[in-house]
């Protein structure tokens, strides 16, 4: 009884907020460590490795939420009931037997928190960080997409074969197979560059947000179209090189580009290209807001 009297009835909000944060950390630190370890050391399943862009995206999302904090506090406390449902759904997912559902519980619970604390305005404020978390949540979606990359695989095999023929190599292309000097190279679903495309689109999204170009639909669309073009081209070149190395018996070079740090270097160089692509698009397509300003003058 004495204790109850000593406690001031409105318990400090910060105490409660810290408790919520504490529980979230308790639930998700082991999971996040598992993701990060998996992405860095490739100890996670191939499908979940596709989401390694989370290494950039998750810290960036955290940074955005932190820099939004004063705007968040200024929002009125108008809870949305859907928030509770999402929280319950998230907890059910977290307690399920499926890794994918456990993973997805993170964006679900975070969305639920936004809705339950600040309603729709809160969700709108945190929409972009939440999108970044959701797109970095590892799921088996790449496995389900793999059968649909077949046309892309044959296209890559055909183009790589054509390039090698121009270089004077005798290459035969059959569907997704390249036959060079009696050796077969298969453009497997995981070689179709879906991972590189995912990463490029994600990094592209970050760049668009960072430069404010996301506000212009023309710039956004042409940038994404450019990303797809650059990524597919880069992947054709990569597969051409791999076929060349394998067909001419340069196994070391093949392994370096296929499994070693050569592949990472190649991806990094391609991501670097995206910055120039965006610069180019910004120079070519006039900013809408600029033209409005000009009209006002």
């Amino acid at each position: 009884m004495q204790i109850r009297q000593q406690l001031p009835l409105p318990i400090g909000r910060y105490a409660l907020s810290s408790a919520v944060l504490g529980l979230l950390l308790l639930m998700y630190v082991p999971l996040l460590l598992h993701w990060i370890d998996g992405w860095l050391n490739k100890s996670i399943s191939i499908e979940h490795e596709y989401f390694s862009h989370g290494l950039i995206g998750l810290p960036f999302a955290a940074y955005l939420v932190w820099s939004n904090r004063s705007r968040w506090q200024q929002l009125p406390d108008l809870p949305h009931l859907a928030g509770v449902f999402l929280l319950l759904l998230g907890v059910a997912c977290y307690r399920s037997n499926l890794t994918d559902l456990i993973n997805l519980s993170l964006p679900i619970i975070l969305t639920g928190l936004c809705l339950w604390l600040k309603g729709m305005p809160g969700l709108r404020l945190q929409a972009f960080p939440l999108l970044l978390v959701f797109l970095a949540t590892p799921t088996e979606v790449p496995y389900l997409l793999a059968p649909y990359t077949l046309p892309l695989q044959s296209f890559i095999a055909g183009t790589a074969g054509f390039i090698l023929q121009q270089l004077g190599m005798s290459v035969r292309v059959d569907q997704i197979y390249l036959y060079v000097n009696e050796r077969i190279v298969e453009v497997a679903p995981y070689c179709a560059g879906l991972k590189m495309l995912f990463t490029s689109l994600y990094v592209g999204l970050l760049l668009l947000y960072w430069t404010g170009a996301l506000a212009s639909r023309a710039r956004t669309l042409s940038f994404f179209a450019g990303i797809i073009f650059v990524s597919v081209t880069a992947n054709i070149l990569r597969n051409t090189l791999l076929t060349f190395f394998h067909g001419t018996g340069k196994e070391q070079a093949f392994t370096w580009l296929h499994d070693g740090w050569g592949g990472d270097l190649y991806s990094a160089a391609m991501l670097g290209l995206l910055v120039f692509l965006l610069r180019g698009i910004e120079a070519w397509i006039p900013d809408n807001s600029d033209s409005v300003d000009a009209a006002e003058f």
């Binding site: 529980l23 999971l31 389900l144 569907q175």
Partner: protein, 251 residues
């Protein structure tokens, strides 16, 4: 009801308490996992019949009323396939020699993370054949009830398979292909995926699978319709034999 949670400092506390209560449902069991280390995401459930599946890869499948003429393990698309030449058991040696054998190609799951991928494409690649007249067919395969179950009811499962003509310079085959699992079969990896997810979700068990490709020789560029009945009959036998042995943990 929502007005309860609006504006006043009391209601703010109430809302935070709701969050704490809901999160605690998940966080409290998580605490014990910190000590045991058994995080679900760290490992997939074991494949119960991995031994039997590997045995198929090495030794093929014994089919009732069929004899195996020849068996070998062949690498196709980076994976080991069990390739069996088979003939009806009542066929004599002279008949067998004069006729082209039927091939039964099996590629069982052999490790935990092994998933169906592009098996049909791999076979196309190794046979270097042209595939046409493609269509889907359905058949039922039966599994005699295991001991202990009620009555003599026969459990049957639905199998969807792709049926096509594959031909090259040497041979023309009627080809029947599907991924077999204990409760059915389909040529689409995604069908297996959802069955496997359901099995993991409900029972925390994997759904082992075997890629099956049956090659029935037909006349050069002949119509596969003539082989449809025999291909389906063989397909049923294969699915039943697989369900009896390698696909069912309880069997």
């Amino acid at each position: 009801m929502l007005s309860l949670f609006k504006t006043s400092p009391r209601s703010q506390i109430l809302r935070m308490l709701v969050i704490l209560f809901i999160l605690a449902i998940a966080a409290v069991p998580a605490v014990s996992t910190y000590f045991t280390g058994g995080w679900i995401w760290k490992s997939l459930p074991e494949v119960a019949t991995l031994e039997q599946l590997r045995a198929i890869e090495k030794g093929g499948l014994v089919l009732p009323e069929w004899q195996t003429l020849n068996h070998e393990t062949v690498e196709i698309g980076g994976q080991d396939w069990s390739v069996q030449a088979i003939a009806p058991a009542n066929q004599t040696a002279t008949e067998t020699n004069s006729q082209a054998p039927i091939f039964l190609m099996l590629r069982p799951q052999t490790w935990q993370r092994d998933q169906p991928q592009v098996e049909w494409m791999d076979i196309n690649g190794v046979q270097r054949w042209t595939a046409d007249s493609k269509r889907q067919i359905r058949f039922e395969a039966q599994m005699p009830s295991t001991q202990g179950s009620v009555g003599n009811s026969v459990k049957s499962v639905q199998v969807n398979a792709r049926f096509l003509r594959g031909w090259n310079q040497q041979r023309t085959y009627a080809v029947l292909q599907w991924y077999a699992w204990s409760s059915g079969g389909s040529p689409a990896p995604s069908r297996w995926f959802w069955v496997d997810q359901r099995s993991q979700w409900r029972d925390r068990q994997r759904m082992p699978w075997v890629a099956v490709s049956v090659l029935v020789p037909i006349q050069p560029l002949g119509d596969i319709k003539q082989a449809e009945v025999s291909a389906i009959a063989l397909g049923q036998t294969v699915q039943s034999a697989l369900m009896r042995s390698a696909l069912n943990a309880g069997a």
